[in-house]
Amino acid sequence: MWRGLILICCLVAAPMARAHPHVFVNVTLTLETDAEGRVDAIEVTWVYDPLFTMLVLSDRGLDPDADLVLTEEEKALLLGFDLEDWPEGFDGALFAHDAEGALELGPAEALSVGMRDGALVTRHRRPVEALELDPGEMLRLEPYDPYYYASLSLVGVEGLPEGCTARIVPPDTDAADARVDEMGNSDDEMFFEEAKVGVHYAFAAEVTCAGS
């Protein structure tokens, strides 16, 4: 009987520890390299889902003719709208690691705003300290919203230096669910800190280079 009870408890409780996202974003990362082939910036393209696009446009009274095309003035007005007021820990929803640890990403610089198939597309650049990708070393890029309000899917990695390849690793949702369940079921104080579940549902790009 107790097993049955525990099971029903799990049935009801386990999904509770998970949040659900309300914004869906497709992400493309483009590496920028300097004259010596070192990575010195990461360009981020966010393609918002059409519903959130409508919200953002109507918030500002843009596209009143509903043709889902933005004028140059409207684009100028929107430029950088998604780079303001980041909540603490959001950090531009991009996290990078190399063999030595987390890379510091510089402040975001807005590049462009546009529309594609009814979806708002924004681009911005995050500078990094010139980074040489040594053979055998891995650069790991993870675009995700720690709060999981937005679900980010990594759809492409471009601008790879010569000899480098990128592997896109989708989130291992089984492992992620198990981890979130563990958090929910332990009386560990850390649960409250770790309640930001987004990292467990993150896509990753693993960039490796063969060397010249």
Binding site: M1, G4, L5, L7, I8, C9, C10, L11, V12, A13, A14, P15, M16, A17, R18, A19, H20, P21, H22, F24, D49, P50, L51, F52, T53, M54, L55, S58, D59, A66, L68, G118, Y149, S151, T173, D174, A176, D177, G184, F191, F192, A195
Partner: protein, 306 residues
């Protein structure tokens, strides 16, 4: 009859084993997430058509609203926790719990309409202020209220256990006489406090029903807010308001199943216990366990949003 109920209960347990033992939950979660993404995209498409004056898009929008509510409820949600936990913990007639599940989903839709029109129209707030209010403040209040319902179940279970152990006779309460239980569950155990008609009647209290519905409804669904904000701005208010309630029906389609599952599980377990004579003792314990579960999970949720 009892065989059917037990079979239902075992069916739910098998589902639980599959869900949690064999990764079914992740599959469900992934399916719900993909579903939500697609539905959200389709909703934008229909809104765009309505905005362009295609009246036929209205039916499409409402159909998508139902699907949104369904996928939303198939994911995580405090409504299922409360309805499911309550149904396992307390003797509540299945029809009544199903009705409460429906009522709480519709009340949640009403809360969304109220919040959007009070916030945007009356107070002139922006979209982020309104959704922020729902995602943080109202979410915390709702989870807090859910936790209180859980604690209430724990308290009730504890009091019953206390009385069943022979305490509290001095209060000369109505419970202090032997019932002739017609449901057969407690006829062999000789205890006075079995799962009885009297216990079932307790839940008829409208206060508990209101608490259940209120705790769920206080926190409106963010998707409904998105829809209502857009339809208000596009001047198609009624399409959005009806859509929000249809979304509620979609959510209810899941929580009502949870209600039936919870009640059948409880009935099935009790029917099996009856032969062992442990039913009467187990009842308050089940109630306390269900209450504690609701309280613990809700308090974690409160902490997570604060």
């Amino acid at each position: 009859m009892r065989g059917v109920v037990t079979a239902l209960g075992l069916g739910v347990m098998a589902l639980a084993v599959w869900l949690w033992g064999f990764g079914g939950a992740s599959a469900l979660q992934a399916w719900a997430l993909d579903g939500q993404r697609e539905v959200q995209q389709a909703m934008a498409g229909y809104l765009q058509k309505l905005r362009a004056g295609e009246a036929g898009a209205l039916v499409g929008l409402w159909g998508i609203c139902f699907a949104y509510g369904f996928f939303h409820a198939a994911g995580p949600g405090h409504g299922k926790l409360l309805i499911g936990g309550y149904g396992v913990g307390r003797a509540v007639p299945v029809k009544r719990l199903v009705g409460l599940a429906l009522a709480s989903s519709l009340a949640q839709a009403a809360a969304a309409v109220l919040l959007v029109y009070a916030g945007l129209y009356a107070l002139g707030l922006g979209r982020e202020a309104v959704t922020g209010l729902a995602d943080r403040t109202l979410a915390a209040v709702s989870y807090g209220a859910t936790a209180l319902v859980g604690l209430w179940l724990v308290l009730r279970g504890a009091m019953k256990l206390w009385r069943a152990r022979g305490h509290g006779r001095g209060h000369s309460q109505a419970h202090d006489h032997t019932h002739d239980h017609g449901d057969g569950v407690c006829s062999t155990c000789g205890h006075r406090h079995g799962p009885s008609v009297e216990e079932a009647a307790n839940v008829h209290g409208w206060r508990e029903a209101a608490a259940l519905v209120g705790a769920v409804a206080i926190r409106p669904c963010t998707g409904a807010l998105f829809l209502l904000i857009l339809t208000w701005r596009f001047g198609i208010d009624l399409a959005g308001i009806a859509g929000a309630f249809i979304m509620g029906l979609g959510t209810a389609s899941v929580t009502m199943v949870v209600a039936v599952a919870a009640v059948s599980l409880r009935t099935g377990v009790l029917a099996r216990l009856a032969t062992g004579g442990a039913g009467a003792k187990a009842l308050p314990v089940i109630e306390m366990a269900a209450g504690a579960l609701i309280a613990v999970v809700s308090l974690q949720l409160v902490a997570a949003v604060l």
